[in-house]
């Protein structure tokens, strides 16, 4: 059946360029004249691989076995032939095809022969098979029928290597017009050629893995075939995507990342570097494994794409599909009928899906932290209504962000000060900006210095000598304060009532210190016997740092007797002590911290109430949809943020992240209430899950509580910053509107609601209490008119714009 052989084997390796394989005029003539037995025409079968299945249903018995093949046909003649780009033109003569075994008839043996041809390079022999109907769209979602896609029409291949023990490796063809063909599953254990190729590898290199440790599988072969003729470039955005003849635009948005090199492969590179999936790809497979078991295999590609944009509801899917910012590839995907079906199908499992998607997105965020953030990165990790906004933010200052996020080392910190006087020679704002965005180096002692400024122990304008004097007197005062309670209580110079109260406080402190951050090595040890044999911890022992913690807290109890010790304070002190490792210094840092945190611990809880109220107003303004949902879930007390606000996310983030977060918050760089924007950022990140799945207060509380230690800090900081800017702008817009009220409402106002306004001297503007710019409270009539949008900036909200700490305790020194 084969055509006459008139072919010179190409020199190999290295693989020759695609053009080398262009059929010569001679060939072409010959090629044209060869008639296939049945069809009367033939196309060249370059490569094929058997036991490649379509899985139309989840049931294995419905699987359809077939061949994947690379076929060469005569290029379509046309006037554009000579003007089209060379590689495209080449590509259009190649077809990537899948044919069911059952439909092959006589050609079956040819496919098998080509499959088993022991040839790495392009085939020496030419095999002709009946032409397949060329397709560029995939109309039948079940994919029962064969298809042959011109390689020039292939946009990308989604290549998923087999994972250990669970699913088959697969390839999905995505066309330039936006269609996806059904996933082709490589049943490698049935495929004779793959088995042989594996054996050959073992024989030759004693290693079934390729150079980067991935197991060889059938899909590798398909990529190898394609690389022989066209450019195949692995996407750095999605390691499972291989772009075919990518345009420059595609390369920019999808292709080479900054860490390219491992991702870029072209036909010109030697075969040895032909990479399978890298380690990251493997990891992701492993992490998805248990989840994927619940899904139909044929659908994985869709889910994988969905997971990137973490969009499981139709509503958002449509939004995304219509959003012009979305790369066309993603937009097309979202409109794919298969995706739509999937969304319907898994409605019931949405909570699970959403949680999972969130975790994948977070993993993605972590991975991307190695690179510069791009708008697309953010987009992919976003699923909130504020996504668009953040893209804007990031687009304007893309490069600046990485620069700004550079960590502040001790050397840089010391450079902020005049070497002689030790006075700051930058502005305080500049220093705060650096600390807010970059954070302080956790390892070189920068924090030990800088935190004392941030916490108000040292004035920013102080000189080196002044600071030394301050520290000396602070040390003395600490000793004095500590001696105060010691003499009265331990030496017994107190009334019995005083003593009872003190003992109660001491016991409370004792209990809490022994359960505060004991996983941190500094606090872990139990190497010294407990000084008090009556302590409940007498049997377990203690260590010197725990004892220092107790003394500092008892001294604070002495320093601020009205407040005393309240649960949560030990959580605030521990990081300060761990950084300072000096009880007197840590104590004064703690006093500075407590000056701003005191309101959290008041007996009447008024400080916590007011912050929860401010958060309430903030969510109302920034995300009214979510607010309405929380209302319906009886959750607008925002109690589920109580823990986060009380100890500033100490229980929500890893130790290192807590330190980083606190120093950012201490700067008051944007607002002294920036911690509420952190809360908003967390809420926004999870808003879709909350709105779609959480209907009751207990569900919301549980979900939020369980976020503890699952969150990555930097993206939340970034998001909080964006939200702050948006808030600032919203306030400006509303203030502007309020300065130009609707005239009709204004005129009727005196008659209806303000009987004393006849007094001409009186301003119609009644300034709101605590408001700096005199927002006019809307009249009843106005309120009725804008019932839908009663947007007034409350004093609680206006306070969020302040950079000072208005509730700060007056220093008693």
């Amino acid at each position: 059946m084969a055509g006459p052989v008139k072919y010179t084997p190409p020199p190999s390796p290295p693989s020759p360029t695609a053009s080398f394989y262009d059929i010569s005029d001679d060939d072409e003539d010959e090629y044209n004249t060869i008639a296939h037995a049945r069809s009367g025409r033939g196309v060249k079968l370059l490569y094929s691989k058997s036991k490649v299945y379509v899985h139309p249903t989840p049931s294995a018995k419905d699987n359809i076995a077939g061949f994947i093949a690379l076929i060469q046909q005569k290029p379509k003649p046309g006037p554009n032939h000579s003007t089209t780009t060379h590689s495209r033109n080449d590509a259009s003569s190649f077809l990537l095809a899948w044919v069911p075994e059952a439909s092959l008839g006589d050609a079956y043996s040819t496919y098998v022969k080509v499959d088993l041809a022991d040839d790495d390079s392009p085939p020496r022999q030419r095999y002709l098979v009946p032409p397949l109907p060329t397709t560029t769209t995939h109309r039948d979602p079940i994919g029962l029928y064969s298809f042959a896609v011109p390689v020039s029409e292939i946009y990308s291949l989604l290549v998923r290597p087999p994972s250990l023990g669970w699913w088959f490796g697969s390839v999905v063809i995505n066309t330039r017009s936006g269609d996806s063909f059904p996933a082709l599953f490589f049943h490698d254990s049935e495929c004779e050629s793959t088995i042989l190729q594996k054996k050959k590898r073992v024989r030759e290199s004693f290693d079934p893995f390729d150079h980067d440790g991935s197991l060889f599988w059938g899909g590798d072969e398909v990529l190898r075939w394609l690389r022989t003729y066209v450019e195949v470039q692995r996407s750095s955005v999605d390691r499972n995507v291989y772009l075919i003849n990518p345009s420059e635009e595609d390369q920019l948005s999808f292709g080479r990342g900054l860490n390219a090199g491992d991702g870029t492969l072209s036909k010109a590179q030697p075969e040895a570097t032909a990479a399978g999936p890298n380690a990251a790809g493997q990891q992701r497979d492993a992490s998805m494994d248990p989840f994927m078991k619940t899904l139909k295999e044929t659908r994985w590609k869709v889910l994988e794409q969905l997971s990137k944009i973490t969009t499981f509801t139709r509503r958002t899917a449509n939004e995304i599909a219509d959003n012009p910012r979305i790369p066309p590839q993603v937009r097309r995907l979202m409109k794919n009928p298969e995706v739509q079906t999937l969304q319907d199908e898994f409605d019931s499992a949405r909570l699970y899906l959403a949680r999972w998607a969130m975790s994948i997105a977070e993993q993605g965020e972590k991975d991307r932290n190695q690179r510069i953030w791009t708008a697309q990165d953010v987009l992919e990790s976003e699923n909130s209504s504020v996504g668009d906004f953040e893209i804007l933010e990031l687009e304007t200052g893309n490069l600046a962000i990485q620069e700004r996020r550079r960590i502040v080392t001790l050397a840089e910190w010391e450079g902020f000060f005049d070497p002689v006087s030790g006075r700051l020679h930058l502005t305080v704002e500049e220093v705060k900006e650096r600390i807010f965005h970059g954070g302080l180096d956790p390892n070189d002692g920068a924090r030990k210095e800088a935190w004392l400024f941030l916490l108000g122990v040292y004035p920013w304008e102080s000189s080196h000598e002044e600071r030394q004097a301050i520290m000396n007197s602070k040390r003395d005062e600490y000793i004095r304060l500590k001696a105060g309670w010691w003499e009265r209580m331990v030496d017994g110079n107190s009334t019995s009532e005083e003593y009872e109260n003190w003992k109660e406080q001491r016991n409370r402190i004792e209990k809490d210190v022994h359960r505060t951050d004991r996983t941190i090595p500094l606090f872990a040890g139990e190497d010294i016997p407990h000084p008090d044999p009556d302590s409940p911890f007498a049997d377990t022992g203690t260590n010197v740092h725990l004892e220092q913690m107790k003394d500092m807290l008892l001294t604070y109890n002495e320093y601020n007797p009205d407040l005393g010790y309240v649960q949560g304070m030990s959580d605030l002190l521990a990081p300060l002590y761990a950084v300072m490792q000096d009880d007197a210094v840590a104590f004064w840092a703690f006093v500075g911290f407590m000056d701003r945190m005191e309101r959290n611990f008041l007996r009447d809880q008024s400080g916590m109430r007011s912050q929860l109220l401010a958060l309430d107003h903030l969510v109302q303004l920034m995300d009214p949809q979510l607010y309405v949902h929380l209302q319906s879930a009886d959750s607008t007390n925002f109690f589920f943020f109580f823990r986060m606000l009380l100890v500033w996310y100490k229980r929500e983030f890893e130790w290192g992240d807590v330190l980083r977060l606190w120093e950012a918050l201490w700067t008051d760089y944007f607002s002294s209430s920036f911690h509420l924007f952190i809360a908003l950022a967390i809420l926004e990140k999870h808003r879709d899950v909350i709105m779609d799945h959480l209907k009751h207060f207990d569900e919301v509380l549980k979900y939020i509580n369980e976020l503890s230690n699952t969150m990555d800090l930097v993206p939340i900081l970034t998001r909080a910053e964006s939200l702050f800017h948006r808030f600032e702008r919203s306030v400006q817009v509303i203030d502007k509107k309020d300065n130009f009220p609707a005239p009709s409402a204004h005129q009727r106002r005196p008659a209806s609601s303000s009987p004393d306004s006849a007094g001409k001297g009186k301003s119609p503007q009644r300034p709101t209490v605590g408001s700096s710019s005199g927002v006019r409270p809307p009249s009843a009539l106005q309120q009725a008119i804008d019932k839908d949008k009663p947007k007034v900036i409350s004093p609680e909200l206006r306070e969020l714009l302040r950079k000072d700490v208005p509730w700060r305790r007056q220093q008693t020194s």
Binding site: P536, F640, R643, V647
Partner: protein
């Protein structure tokens, strides 16, 4: 009328800080004890499905912060509680003395102001219940694993207290050694279920009264 629908029983654990509220909850639900729980801030809950007399119920057990000032924000989860567990540490007399105020706190916060949760409280004659019975309470003395010479509150003293408060069921447990925890919570589940059913039952009869109350409230707004 016993309905067979699945029941959610809300149980709230109160008591001084450090008496072992979190440990008891975790021992009962997860069968685990850890010496390194952090002080509870805010509130959290765990759920457990249990069979009570062939009836499958879900217990939602709420754990709260122990320091009294944090209770004022916690009204949100007192609401609708079917049972309240008061915990003290048998080695700490202060925590025992505090039981009274914890009990009062719960009764004030949970029931009279919340007629929806405890409708029979406002039903004048159909349910001649004494004040002591309308909210189901259980007292637990925890940490009985600690050596005897450290013990401050004797069983007798605790039982006398519970009897004087209207025969509150009393248990002594060790969350650490898993002593008696299961038994205590079995009674808690049973009590909570009885409470829940009493509400259902009285609810059928007190409907008109509730409407009346609603009207009164509306009346004020007019």
């Amino acid at each position: 009328m016993a309905s067979r629908k699945k029941v959610l029983l809300k149980v709230i654990i109160l008591g001084d800080s450090g008496v072992g509220k979190t440990s008891l909850m975790n021992q009962y639900v997860n069968k685990k004890f850890s010496g390194s729980y952090k002080a509870t801030i805010g509130a959290d809950f765990l759920t457990k499905e249990v069979l009570v007399d062939d009836r499958l119920v879900t217990m939602q057990i709420w754990d709260t912060a122990g320091q009294e000032r944090f209770q004022s924000l916690g009204v949100a989860f007192y609401r609708g509680a079917d049972c309240c567990v008061l915990v003290y540490d048998v080695n700490n007399s202060k925590s025992f003395e505090a039981l009274d105020s914890w009990r009062d706190e719960f009764l004030i916060q949970a029931s009279p102001r919340d007629p929806e949760s405890f409708p029979f409280v406002s039903t004048p004659s159909a349910w001649p219940v004494s004040e002591e019975q309308f909210a189901v309470l259980v007292v637990i003395g925890n940490k009985i694993d600690v050596e005897e010479n450290k013990r401050m509150i004797s069983s007798k003293r605790a039982m006398t207290f519970c009897q004087s408060k209207g025969n509150i069921p009393y248990f002594e447990t060790s969350a650490k050694e898993a002593l008696n925890v299961e038994q205590a919570f079995e009674v808690i589940a049973r009590s909570a279920l009885a409470q829940e059913e009493a509400e259902e039952f009285s609810g059928e009869f007190s409907d008109p009264i509730n409407i009346h109350l609603d009207n009164e409230r509306d009346g004020c707004a007019c």
